[in-house]
Amino acid sequence: MSDAILSRLLQRKKTTAACAAAVLDSRHSVDPCPEPLLKKYIRHKFLLEDEDSDSGNLQGLAKRSLMRAAGEAASSRYLNAKDCTGATNALTKIILLIMNIEQTFGVHFTPAESADAETVADLCRLVRTAWNREETRV
């Protein structure tokens, strides 16, 4: 890996961590887990660039991320390719993202809640609900 790429990835890691910290800081604010912040976190996590679509759709973001990784010429066939468990590359990426969000923000979503999340806004709602749930329990 070239120094330039390595440096870019390290920078990206730092920015992602900063976004995660900002989301965590928002927990007790009037606007917990704001959508723009979480979206920024996801975009960094997915290694997306500024010129990539600003869509809040998780499928769209995951597919764009796969194209970044596989190259612009990645066909839709690659994006929709299934592994031997019947999961597409994009779906696998989304589930891994959701699991990462659970870990990073100290929350837990049920498998059904995870399956229903289609947009960044859905994920924000899930994080807020999980935080609330925890506080009520406390």
Binding site: A87, L91, N100
Partner: protein
């Protein structure tokens, strides 16, 4: 009370998605991945996500399929299907016509369900469909495999036809004998037919039918008159008086009422035997032709001459195609040299067929106005009497309008265990302005001698629809457990 038509019958399907949950994170000869992707939590989450996608796919299936509540079933790499998973399906045993399974490595749980509940199962996808179904069939269980969801959709629609047949109850008019003297090749073992295909029968005597015609109510009379007026209004022209058409629509209204009363959804009667009572000539002044036409246009199978082979074939075609078929006497020309002698009685040797080989004709005065689709517009038609005396309304359509169109003919074997399917192309119409039964069409088949040889095993009345349904019928035959004999060797040698 309304007639429960076969075409309105849906196939009830219980869908379930199987997700395999690996109890710990590992790689090996059966799985691969890294990190979080190998955890049970990932399996659970992605299982739900794929189940959601599975449910979305179900929305793309035909509305002829009624899905019961879809279930997500899980099992683990201990390779047992636990009781709590069986319970998710047990309430729908007896309600569902078929259990439809998709998922991951799902041949094993599908097989467990099949063996536990003894229900028909359908398995989608590689390689569960082929592996699971082969295993189940070898064990004598009813199982179907689908290449992918699209294939499942297509085959479930075929299975719906099987379900519709199973819910067919025929109102059969009886006069003298179950076997009409004009259709000796009819299916005679009705109990076997019920066991094989589920078709049931209610017989009433012709005298009861006559009594019902005599006891027509004012409401039925008004309905008959309105139907007759509509028939005239929508026709290109009519050769009959309103009064004579009403005599036939009255017959239709009464038969419809009898179908409702006896909870039947298919009809046939022995034309020759009932004709010989002279009641139609002396008293009612009608023939059954218009009854058959109008019932078929509604999607209710209705066959001439107590011909059960034609009736079952018609039931298949109506349910498979949602088209209202024609049926009739069918006979080929023997050779290139056609003479008046080789032309079936009532038909004419016409120029359009003189220089063509492999010509076959089918004729009976039971054309319908919905031959291109029960849900579509009426085809152009005119009204002509069956009798020279001017009574016995029949619908006539000029099949010469459709020269070159492919058609599919079908008839069941006298055993009820085989069907003969023939592909053909229309060459000319026949007898559209004549009285009697000699109205129909000429068409070209691949090999008329081959067809005739097979007809010698199957009989003479064929029911037909527009379009090429040979492949569908072959697949339907597999689903129904009925052998399909075809009367063409492959591609058409049309001239």
């Amino acid at each position: 009370m309304s007639i429960q038509k076969g075409i309105d019958q849906k196939i009830k399907v219980k869908p379930a998605y199987f997700q395999l949950i690996h109890t710990t994170a590992y790689e090996g000869p059966c799985r691969l991945g890294s990190g979080e992707q190998l955890t049970p939590e990932f399996d659970e989450k992605i299982g739900h996500a794929k189940f959601k996608r599975f449910k979305e796919t179900l929305k793309t299936y035909s509305d002829e399929i009624e899905f019961l509540e879809p279930e997500l079933l899980t099992w683990t790499d201990e390779f047992i299907l636990r009781e709590e998973q069986f319970k998710k399906l047990s309430n729908d045993v007896g309600k569902a016509d078929l259990f439809l399974f998709d998922g991951v490595f799902h041949q094993f749980p599908a097989s467990e369900i099949s063996q536990r509940f003894h229900v028909p199962v359908g398995v989608i996808g590689c390689c569960a469909s082929t592996d699971g179904v082969a295993g189940l069939r070898n064990a004598g269980l009813e199982a179907y495999g689908f290449i992918d969801p699209e294939d499942a959709n297509r085959q479930l629609k075929l299975m719906r036809t099987k379900i519709a047949l199973r819910n067919t109850r025929v109102l059969a008019i009886l006069k003298n004998d179950v076997v009409s003297k004009g259709v000796l090749s009819t299916i005679t073992d009705l109990q076997q037919l019920t066991r094989d295909l589920g078709i049931q029968f209610t017989f009433i005597n012709a005298e009861d039918l006559f009594d019902a015609l005599r006891a027509i109510t004012p409401e039925q009379e008004a309905a008959a008159e309105q139907i007759a007026k509509d028939l005239i209004d929508q026709a290109e022209y009519s050769d009959m008086t309103l009064e004579n058409i009403v005599r036939s629509t009255r017959f239709y209204v009464v038969i419809r009422a009898l179908l409702e009363h006896y909870e039947c959804n298919a009809f046939t009667m022995p034309c020759f035997e009932v004709c010989a009572t002279r009641k139609f000539n002396d008293e009612f002044r009608c023939t059954p032709c218009l009854v058959h036409t109008l019932l078929k246009e509604e999607g209710i199978p209705s066959a001439c001459e107590s011909d059960l082979n034609a009736l079952v074939a018609m039931t298949v075609l109506i349910n498979l195609t949602r088209k209202a078929p024609h049926m009739g006497n069918t006979h080929p020309y023997a050779s290139e040299i056609k003479t008046d002698e080789s032309t079936p009685s009532g038909l004419e040797l016409i120029p359009e067929i003189e220089d063509k080989r492999n010509i076959v004709s089918t004729w009976h005065a039971v054309q319908t106005r919905k031959m291109k689709g029960i849900d579509g517009p009426l085809m152009p038609y005119h009204i002509t009497p069956f009798t020279q005396a001017g009574w016995g309304a029949t619908i006539r359509y000029d099949f010469s309008r459709d020269i070159g169109e492919p058609i599919t003919l079908l008839r069941f074997h006298p055993s009820g265990k085989k069907m003969l399917a023939v592909k053909a192309v229309i060459v000319a119409g026949a007898g559209k302005d004549t009285v009697g039964c000699s109205t129909g069409l000429y068409y070209q088949v691949a090999d008329s001698r081959d067809m005739f040889r097979k007809m010698l095993d199957f009989g003479h009345h064929y029911t037909w629809v527009y379009g090429d349904y040979i492949d569908d019928l072959k697949e339907l035959g597999e689903v129904m457990g009925v052998d399909v004999v075809t009367a063409y060797p492959g591609e058409f040698p049309y001239e």
